[in-house]
């Protein structure tokens, strides 16, 4: 199995002018990218802004992406540079968010709370999503739960999971798919309108 073939097929479509394929790349990597950016900025809302900027930069630079490296590696590099630049420009900005220089961490949290206060329902929804997904995972049969956790938490390939679980690769693929279907079923039951704006895409 060629690594990154999935991303590469989407990237090639974007390079040929299919913007819809880029939505799929954003949906796949948005959480990972925000998590990555949050190593540089503590505020989730600011991290989302930086991640958004990184995605747009990546889109504009995509004609130069030749596929020599994995797409996510390339994307992460853009995100890290964007985050570093954002931190530098914020530090140079005459407008200081941290009014109390002795406790800048607290001021960052306050800033984050102020931005999050705009969408309190968003925080609630995130908690509900977590609760639902975790409950669905707990309700999974052992073999399905092990397969999906090894995949998502440990990042193992299907072949590695097959070796770990002593079963064929096809079985791993089926187990992961069935685990996702079970979780997705619970998610759709709870949130009839879909998750956030993801349903609106496409």
């Amino acid at each position: 199995m060629s690594a990154d073939a999935s991303d590469l097929s989407l990237v090639r479509r974007v390079q040929r002018g299919d913007k819809g394929a880029f939505d799929a790349l954003v949906l796949k990597y948005q959480h990972k990218l925000v998590k990555l950016v949050m190593r540089y900025v503590r505020n989730p809302a600011e991290a989302e802004d930086i991640a958004q900027e990184a995605f747009i930069k990546a889109y504009r630079a995509l004609p130069q992406f030749r596929g020599d490296s994995a797409f996510y590696t390339w994307l992460y590099r853009i995100a890290i540079n964007t985050a570093k630049n954002a931190v530098v420009s914020r530090d140079r900005s005459p407008i200081e968010y941290d009014l109390d220089r002795n406790n800048s961490e607290e001021s960052y949290d306050m800033q984050g709370r102020m931005k999050d206060a705009e969408t309190p329902e968003g925080l609630v929804l995130t908690d509900e999503i977590r609760t639902t997904v975790n409950a669905a995972i707990d309700a999974l049969p052992e073999d399905l739960r092990t397969a999906i956790v090894l995949r998502e938490l440990e990042g193992l390939s299907y072949e590695e999971i097959a070796a770990a679980m002593d079963c064929p690769v096809g079985t791993v693929r089926s187990r992961i798919f069935r685990a996702r279907e079970a979780i997705d079923h619970r998610l759709r039951e709870v949130f009839e309108g879909g998750l956030g704006r993801a349903e609106e895409l496409g």
């Binding site: 590469l8 299919d18 799929a24 959480h31 990972k32 999503i129 299907y158 996702r180 998750l195 704006r197």
Partner: protein, 218 residues
């Protein structure tokens, strides 16, 4: 929803699908809203399992990016135009230069055999015929017994009628005058202006003066 399709989508999300199948599914994924939403939920599941704290799972990031990109030109269009321009850019000067050089060289070669035109005399015409080589090569009439030398006697220069460029060449030079050198262009154009228009269209090129000279090796 087709279960096999969903199974493929799950495998594609994990980069565990064959490249050929990825190509087909990527096409469908980019257009099918339901499939894309499912793809997005797969990403949410992963984020929850990895316990990515602080990350808002319902953040409309994808929607925001998509909205911004609506104003962006499609990459297929923007990438193709510079490539096409770049392709033209590298050979255009070369072609222009080659064409200009060709026209200039053809003009000079052609003018060298003509009588002086427009006050600019070809170098060959500036030299008096009498001042030709002091010891000319032996000349033998055709059919002579000595076959070592043979030639066709060229016509005297004075007998040749004034030659003006043919209409085709004139049209060609005028049409490509922007690529020719200023000197060549000026000479040719002045020649056209001063030549007899009636003769210009009927003038035949001079007979080829066949000169086949064999020189004794000794």
């Amino acid at each position: 929803m087709n279960e096999e399709l969903d199974s493929q989508l799950s495998a594609m999300f994990d980069d565990e699908l064959l490249p050929q199948e990825c190509e087909l599914l990527a096409r469908r994924l980019s257009r099918d809203g339901e499939l894309k939403a499912r793809w997005g939920r797969y990403a949410v599941m992963g984020a929850v399992i990895r316990a990515e704290r602080g990350v808002r799972l319902n953040a409309p990031l994808a929607h925001r990016v998509s909205a911004v990109l609506l104003a962006e030109p499609e990459l297929g269009v923007t990438a193709a135009v510079p490539a096409r321009r770049a392709g033209v850019r590298w050979w255009q000067p070369l072609a222009g230069g080659a064409l200009a050089a060709g026209v200039a060289a053809a003009s000079l070669l052609w003018l060298r055999g003509q009588v002086p035109l427009g006050g600019v005399a070809p170098l060959s015409a500036a030299v008096p015929r009498q001042a030709a080589p002091a010891q000319p090569l032996p000349v033998v009439a055709p059919g002579a017994a000595d076959s070592r030398y043979s030639y066709v006697t060229p016509r005297p220069a004075v007998a040749r009628a004034p030659v003006v460029p043919s209409t085709e060449l004139a049209n060609y030079v005028v049409a490509h005058s922007m690529f020719s050198t200023p000197v060549a262009r000026r000479n040719l154009l002045s020649a056209f202006m001063t030549s007899d228009p009636a003769a210009a269209g009927t003038e035949d090129p001079p007979d080829d003066a066949k000169l086949d000279v064999k020189v004794d090796a000794q």
